[in-house]
């Protein structure tokens, strides 16, 4: 359990890169939908959250 993250083989670097890129892309997509998307239905659904977390809102 301890030894998995210790060595950084080139394969792990590649895997790490793809994990980071995937997570960042999906994360930005989710944040856009909930925090920034101008679609009225999405705005109204997420309205209180946007206000509470200081996303610029209408």
């Amino acid at each position: 359990m301890v030894s998995i993250t210790r060595s950084l083989s080139p394969a792990l670097v590649g895997e790490r890169l793809s994990a980071v890129l995937l997570a960042a892309t999906v994360g930005i997509g989710l944040l856009f939908v909930s925090g920034f998307a101008p679609v009225v239905a999405l705005h109204n659904a997420a309205h209180d959250w946007r206000h509470a977390h200081n996303f610029p809102c209408h």
């Binding site: 359990m1 998995i4 993250t5 792990l12 895997e15 790490r16 793809s18 994990a19 980071v20 890129l21 995937l22 997570a23 960042a24 999906v26 994360g27 930005i28 997509g29 989710l30 944040l31 939908v33 909930s34 925090g35 920034f36 101008p38 009225v40 239905a41 705005h43 109204n44 659904a45 997420a46 309205h47 209180d48 959250w49 946007r50 206000h51 509470a52 977390h53 200081n54 996303f55 610029p56 809102c57 209408h58």
Partner: protein
């Protein structure tokens, strides 16, 4: 590693959303509802205040909701969908919190993994506090958390400034806290300060019928909830990162039900 990152982000986003949702229902949602009463009262009768205690009526009050062409709640013509008041509205707020929570958790995990740090609850908490500074506190300096019905500058310019400030603050914190060279520190400080020297877009300064104490309470509570959200997000991500790995080890040995 991808699976581990996604699983930990789901767990952390869920836990942070649970905490933030409860806090929002208790602290900010009542204020939003109270502010909307003033907002709709002014929309229905702009010249006459339905609430006693205000000696004057200001015809220059700009209503953010009614003035905005695309996102108005009450403008005539086609009624726009919005969640029904009461439980559905709370449910959609919680759903939006969950979606954002998982989104922020994914970004937090991506930054942690990209920085090559060993992911522990303590380390993830530090990055979570950084996330609070970058995504909550720094934008709030220029664009304080606003209740519905408060006039503001054009939405796109505020969103642009918000995103630019969050990115600049995050990069600045990275340079300050992780790179730590003299040049990096100077550059990091410059990045953190630059958006505020540039200045946030400001709307007209109007007089609202809403009691100022609402706005003040809302701003403080919003930041407090933001801090709780980010702290739980960081701690939970670090914890889930370790737990998911442990489960995977066990699962490869004897069980096949790995959550993810």
């Amino acid at each position: 590693m991808t699976k581990r990152l996604l699983a930990a982000a789901l767990v952390a986003g869920f836990l942070a959303a649970c905490v933030a949702s409860v806090l929002q229902f208790a602290l900010t949602s009542p204020l939003i509802l109270a502010a909307e009463k003033y907002e709709t009262a002014e929309t229905v009768a702009p010249a006459v205040h339905a609430f006693s205690g205000h000696a004057f009526a200001n015809p220059l009050i700009v209503l953010a909701h009614s003035g905005h062409g695309a996102a108005g709640h009450d403008h005539g013509g086609e009624p726009q969908w919005q969640p029904a008041p009461g439980l559905p509205r709370l449910a959609f707020t919680a759903l939006a919190t969950l979606v954002s929570g998982v989104g922020y958790a994914l970004l937090l995990g991506a930054v942690l993994v990209a920085a090559g740090r060993e992911v522990t609850p303590g380390e993830a908490l530090k990055f979570g506090v950084g996330g609070f500074l970058a995504a909550s506190l720094a934008p709030a300096i220029g664009l304080p958390p606003e209740l519905p019905g408060v006039a503001a500058a054009a939405l796109e310019s505020r969103q642009l400034w918000w995103v630019a400030t969050a990115l600049a603050t995050a990069s600045g914190l990275y340079l300050l806290a992780i790179r730590r060279g003299p040049v990096a520190i100077a550059l990091g400080l410059a990045l953190i300060v630059a958006p505020h020297l540039w200045g946030a877009p400001h709307g007209p300064e109007d007089i609202s019928a809403m009691p100022p104490v609402y706005a003040a309470q809302f701003a403080a509570r919003s930041l407090a909830i933001g801090f709780a959200f980010w702290a739980v997000l960081g701690l939970a991500f670090g914890w889930a990162w370790g737990t998911v790995a442990g489960k995977q080890d066990i699962a490869s040995g004897r069980r096949s039900g790995v959550p993810a």
